[in-house]
């Protein structure tokens, strides 16, 4: 079908289409390319009025400098925070998503509205009271504190995603297992979990990316250089030069 459709188009229309596609590819990829090229150009090739798109020679020493600086530490910090946020979010979403998909709990409608709108919440309405809470609990500059604050951003969406994956699995599956004499938890563990892992993967990726990229909470609650996550470190480094 596709060949026939393309074949029917006039050559001029095809040409226009290819130019537009070229433009889309260029704009999408150029910032990545430019970031990479700039990072391996010698300084003299960076500060030029006419950009040098393909530098005559490349240097990789900046990457070596990175490794001896604070970046590995901050990379690890980001990994710890995003990893812990992902695991906790996954557990919470796995549990709550099941309850919301299978049980007619009272006020389920409202609970669904709440978790859907959590994603829309402005971060600024949480940032001040969470700062006070964490300060009072002596959790500023700790991974636990930041992870707790990140849960507010990840849990709603992840639970919603998990629930929709549970809904796609016919309820008869665990019912028949229960009829055969195993409890609901055993039925879920043996039969349902193996089927919903794509949902868990999707909501985990969402949680990881959200936490990994998060700046406002991280910049506010992690003020010691040794505890900074990558976005904070990057922002500070960039604004100080």
């Amino acid at each position: 079908v596709s060949t026939r459709r393309l074949g029917r188009r006039s050559p001029a229309a095809s040409a226009v289409l290819y130019v537009i596609i070229g433009g889309i590819v260029l704009v999408s990829l150029f910032p990545f390319f430019w970031m990479l090229v700039t990072s391996i150009k010698p300084d003299t090739a960076i500060f030029t009025r006419t950009p040098q798109f393909f530098p005559a020679h490349a240097i990789v020493s900046r990457y070596g400098d990175l490794l001896s600086g604070p970046i590995p530490r901050q990379f690890l910090n980001s990994l710890i925070v995003a990893g812990a946020t992902t695991v906790l979010t996954g557990v919470i979403a796995l549990m709550a998503g099941y309850a919301l998909a299978r049980y007619k709990v009272p006020m389920r409608r409202y609970l669904l509205v709440v978790i859907l709108s959590m994603q829309m919440l402005p971060q600024t309405i949480l940032v001040i009271p969470l700062f006070v809470l964490l300060r009072n609990a002596h959790l500023l500059n700790t991974f636990q504190g930041l992870v707790i604050s990140h849960l507010a951003l990840t849990v709603g969406m992840s639970t919603y995603v998990m629930r929709s994956f549970y809904l796609d699995i016919p309820e008869e599956l665990e019912e028949s297992a229960m009829v055969d004499g195993c409890g609901r938890m055993t039925a879920v563990r043996r039969i349902i979990f193996p089927l919903v892992w794509p949902g868990l993967a999707a909501s985990s990726i969402y949680a990881f990316i959200t936490s990994w990229n998060e700046l406002m909470f991280s910049a506010t609650y992690m003020q010691q250089p040794a505890k900074e996550t990558l976005p904070v470190a990057l922002q500070q480094y960039f604004s100080s030069y």
């Binding site: 704009v27 919470i92 549990m95 940032v127 700062f131 849960l151 700046l215 922002q235």
Partner: protein
């Protein structure tokens, strides 16, 4: 007989054939107790962690912010009760009013640009099915770049002396852009920030639209073609109306995200919100008011205003979403 007891009975009845086939796996009483646990206690147990997060990290903080907004909050400590003074002060503060208007205009421009560019990309990908798979991956890539990193690279590309944007504009004949300092005034700073934000938000919207557009390839579209409708006509009168609910939801979502933009502003403006307050948006202003000026009362009031505005937009979104579900 309560409904749960009846269901319980029904469940045991359906269990009967299995029991007839062999000895029961457990004595009946234990089984009944376990079913009762599964039915009544388990859902609450499963919901407890979610409830703890919603109440502890979202609900309680919102209440605290409301409480803060009614007090003076110097040095991020709850001070004396001031009633609505914080709000009154806000709406007589020209910087806040300016930020409110600026955020709204910025969000509107971002959404319009994002939706149009995304629609264009979706149409191109829809028209070139052979290349669609590779193109989808390429188009999605900017979404994967952290916002802070994309802010940095775009600021570098808009650099006055060494930026590729000025080089490209002046080499196509716009000599005025030779050495043009984008970040010296508010308007051109916002143009550069808009470019960065739109670049980052297009992928998600475009990919969602492609799926929608594919679903419009039906007999209706063929019929329109047979009737001699041009590409533009069938787009405006057939395809777009068919995906109007999707377009609406995507529009609302990108409005909310554009309204909350923070990272790009913090990275791309120096000092944050500068030059001379000309790029302050609500999220940045609120954050600075709280953690640079250390006035939690005023900042909380700003957060409440943002919250109310977004709540109105979200309410529309939820309502629409629910109608779609039914």
């Amino acid at each position: 007989m309560t409904s749960s007891a009846r269901e319980l009975g029904g469940r045991e009845h359906s269990g009967a054939p299995a029991r007839r086939a062999g000895p029961p796996p457990h004595p009946p009483r234990r089984r009944r107790r376990r079913l009762s646990f599964d039915r009544h206690a388990l859902p609450w147990l499963l919901l407890t962690p979610l409830a703890a997060v919603i109440i502890g990290v979202v609900g309680y903080p919102i209440v605290r912010t409301v409480w803060f907004s009614l007090h003076s909050g110097r040095y991020l400590k709850l001070g004396a009760w001031v009633g609505l003074d914080n709000f009154k002060a806000l709406f007589s503060d020209e910087y806040f009013i300016a930020a409110l208007i600026r955020t709204t205009v910025f969000a509107a421009v971002c959404v319009a640009a994002t939706m149009l560019v995304s629609l264009g990309i979706a149409l191109v990908l829809d028209a070139a099915p052979r290349a669609a798979k590779v193109l989808t991956v390429i188009v999605l890539l900017p979404w994967a770049m952290p916002r802070v990193a994309s802010g940095i690279i775009w600021k570098w590309m808009f650099n006055d002396q060494y930026g590729v944007v000025n080089w490209a504009l002046s080499s196509i004949g716009l000599k005025g852009f030779n050495g043009f300092a984008w970040f010296n005034n508010g308007f051109t700073s916002l143009v550069a920030i808009t470019a960065a934000v739109v670049w980052h938000s297009v992928p998600f919207i475009a990919i969602s639209m492609i799926a929608g557009l594919r679903s419009t390839r039906t007999e209706v579209l063929e019929a329109a073609k047979v009737d001699g409708a041009s590409f533009t006509q069938s787009l405006i009168h057939v395809r777009l109306p068919m995906i109007r609910p999707l377009l609406f939801v995507l529009g609302i979502m990108s409005t909310i995200f554009a309204y909350q933009s923070f990272d790009h502003f913090l990275v791309m403006t120096s000092p944050p919100g500068g030059p001379s307050h000309s790029t302050e948006v609500l999220s940045l202003l609120t954050w600075l008011q709280a953690f640079a000026v250390l006035d939690a009362g005023q900042a909380a009031a700003m957060a409440i205003v943002t919250f109310v505005l977004l709540a109105i937009i979200t309410a529309v979104y939820i309502r629409f979403n629910r109608e779609e579900d039914q």
